[in-house]
């Protein structure tokens, strides 16, 4: 029993680590889509910022500078998306596809030219990364059964970006549902003409939303390369941006349900890793690929209206044209 408990706690612990970039990216998507801009370029922004963070940390020797550069790169891609879709009213999906592919190619080309390591960046030393933090009081609480194990293995021992990701969710909720900016953000995604009539700039609001998304994606990318791993490798985001997008839809564009979806998908991923090659009683060997595909399958089923209904912001995907 103790053994099972420990395994469960360790799996949940892994789930927390895997969920972190999903949470950050999904919150980024939440801002963009709540403002009426579809953002399928979460993946590209994360990949580009993961590369930027690892390169900057390797060259400048500081994880904080790495994080800063990552946020800068991610924000410039977000602004490119804004320039194409808000200013020039280009197709939001096409622009997102372009950014994703651009990040996939450019990270390798630049990595090859700068570091000559087949597209990756040099391995980072410990002081160039975000390391895990041991929470105070582990030694004392450790002696209490169950709670001690949970505190030691699950809650303590993550890096600062993991904790920030979990703290950002209530912040996002507060900003979106309790501030003036949040009210306007939601309004501009539902009915931009009304916002315009009220004398607010639709364009400015949408740019602001994308900028916030850029910052969050930048943190997510930095987490992947300089906190969760110790270098950048080719295509290292591996579709996590799309899982975040799925979580955003699964959570129906609301911060806490989105958080739950991210945790669920993260947990599935951790379970898939643990079940690799394991034969379970009764069920037999579980195909890992099925668990890997689960987030996508669940999202498709949800979108088809078989489990509740996912209603996106009303004006999402529609460029705003004044005076029509």
């Amino acid at each position: 029993m103790d053994d099972f408990l420990l395994t469960l706690v360790l799996t949940l612990d892994a789930a927390m680590r895997v969920s972190t970039p999903l949470i950050l990216a999904a919150m980024a998507g939440l801002f963009a889509e709540r403002s009426g801009v579809v953002d399928i370029s979460l993946e590209g922004k994360m990949l580009a910022s993961a590369f930027a963070a690892a390169s900057a940390a390797a060259v400048l020797g500081s994880p904080w500078l790495g994080l800063l550069v990552a946020i800068g790169v991610s924000c410039s891609l977000a602004m490119l998306h804004g320039f194409a879709t808000i200013t020039h009213r280009g197709d939001q999906i096409v622009s997102g596809v372009a950014i994703n592919i651009l990040a996939a190619g450019l990270t390798i080309i630049l990595g090859l030219a700068w570091f000559h390591r087949g597209g990756g960046t040099p391995s980072l030393a410990n002081d160039e990364r975000f390391l895990s933090i041991t929470l105070p009081g582990v030694d004392i609480i450790n002696h209490i059964p169950l709670i001690g194990t949970i505190y030691r293995e699950l809650l303590s021992g993550h890096n600062i970006l993991v904790y920030s990701a979990f703290l950002i969710v209530p912040l996002v909720w507060w900003v979106v549902f309790r501030t003036r900016f949040g009210l306007r953000l939601r309004a501009v995604g539902e009915n931009p003409a009304a916002v315009d009539t009220a004398g607010l700039s639709v364009i400015k609001l949408r740019y602001k939303a994308l900028l916030v998304g850029g910052i969050l994606c930048g943190i997510a990318g930095a987490y992947i390369s300089i906190a969760h791993n110790a270098q950048f490798t080719r295509d290292m985001t591996a579709g996590q941006g799309f899982i975040a997008l799925a979580a955003l839809i699964f959570g129906k564009w609301r911060p806490y349900p989105v958080l739950s979806a991210c945790l669920l998908f993260g947990f599935l991923d951790a379970v898939a890793v643990r079940l690799q090659g394991v034969t379970l009683p009764i069920i037999g060997e579980v195909p890992v690929q099925l668990i890997e595909a689960a987030p996508y399958l669940l999202t498709v089923i949800l979108l088809a209206g078989f489990i509740g209904k996912a209603i996106p912001p009303k004006s999402v995907g529609v460029p705003y044209v004044k005076e029509r």
């Binding site: 999906i93 372009a98 592919i101 996939a104 080309i109």
Partner: protein, 368 residues
């Protein structure tokens, strides 16, 4: 020229040309960033693509894939849909061709194998697009999101099948058994040899003619049949199309199935024509490349052929470039693809206001 003619010229010729040039200019900037002389790089690239017969063969071989996926994206675009699932449909289409070939008795004739494998690719590609199409038409889920999800589902499914079901007995690699040789599409160099013409060996096979044939079919279908008319009407204004007696839901299903079927033919060129077995990720990048090809070719078969050849040049020339220069890899082609999608797609109207202001200004009315 009066103003409308000028605007027409701007929209049809000047603007697309300027967009492509911008994409190339941006690529040149990237070359300069990584200390590569863009002129030198272009020379190597063009030599790799055209300099020798084998290079030309490879160029056209890659172009064939891009024609299939480009047509696929274009048909969906005409119906006002964005099929971003070409990757998955190409992958599953290849599975369809493989399953049919492996199911047929190895002694059968080529006249059975080839049509059957083409049907397999068409059918499986269409089926993989049918589910998102049905969900969009009848359950209201957005086609872009579902097709993205289906790309990932396809990829997981194929890994599972290749590792657990289709893997050749006694092999470690996740790949199927070789197809019987009667099922192979003839290589161009073999075909030409029959007529006494010797050309260098390359993976170029009969699929190129198949691709050109489907370009012609697409042209006839879109512009000269009532279904094509219905598709275009729905794409331009689905509300108005309803009053013409068109049922947009059926059009979504029809156009997506055709789109998926065309993408499903990538496997014919890659697997039946060249590799002769099912491989992991054989389709990689062609689905997304199809988006760039379709945007650049303005959704017209002729434009798609030209754009596909350009991408074939980039693919083959890019390989030559990576071979010649140590500090560059084939991923430069991916970057160019992205820039073309950006400037010919997302930013396609960037220059339009400026062009119209300078070349076709509104004439002052003279009040006599």
């Amino acid at each position: 020229m009066d103003r409308n003619t000028r605007i027409n010229w701007i929209n049809r010729l000047l603007l697309p040309l300027l967009n492509v040039l911008t994409a190339f200019a941006a690529t040149a900037v990237i070359f300069l960033l990584i200390d590569v002389n863009p002129v030198e790089a272009t020379k190597i690239l063009l030599y790799g693509a055209f300099g020798y017969e084998e290079g030309i063969g490879y160029t056209l071989y890659y172009a064939t894939n891009f024609i299939f996926t480009g047509l696929a994206v274009a048909i969906a675009f005409h119906a006002g849909l964005f099929n971003i699932g070409g990757e998955g449909q190409a992958y599953i289409g290849g599975l369809g061709s493989t399953l049919i070939i492996l199911a047929i008795d190895p002694g059968a004739s080529v006249w059975i194998f080839v049509p059957a494998s083409i049907m397999g690719g068409l059918l499986f590609g269409a089926l993989w697009a049918l589910i998102p199409a049905y969900l969009q038409a009848y359950r209201g889920s957005h086609i872009v999101i579902t097709t993205i999800m289906f790309n990932f589902i396809a990829s997981s499914l194929m890994v599972y099948l290749l590792v657990n079901v289709l893997r050749e007995v006694g092999q470690m690699q996740p790949q199927s058994a070789f197809f019987p040789s009667a099922s192979w599409l003839p290589f161009m160099h073999n075909l030409f040899a029959n007529f006494g013409v010797t050309i260098e060996q390359s993976p170029l096979n009969l699929s190129l003619f198949l691709a050109l044939f489907f370009c012609f079919l697409t042209w006839v279908f879109i512009w000269h049949t009532r279904w094509g008319y219905a598709i275009r009407a729905t794409g331009l204004n689905s509300t108005a199309a309803v009053y013409a007696g068109i049922k947009p839901k059926q059009i979504i299903i029809l156009s997506m199935c055709i789109s998926g079927a065309l993408a499903g033919l990538v496997g014919i060129n890659e697997l039946v024509g060249y590799q002769h077995r099912l491989l992991l990720d054989f389709h990689f990048g062609y689905g997304f490349g199809g988006i760039a090809v379709s945007l650049m070719g303005r959704n017209h078969p002729i434009g798609i052929i030209i754009a596909a050849i350009l991408f074939g040049i980039l693919y083959q020339g890019g390989a030559e470039l990576a071979f010649e220069m140590s500090n560059i890899s084939r991923d430069i082609v991916v970057v160019m693809q992205a820039l073309i999608i950006l400037f010919c797609g997302a930013l396609q109207y960037m220059y339009r206001p400026w062009l119209i202001r300078t070349l076709a200004p509104i004439q002052e009315q003279s009040h006599g």
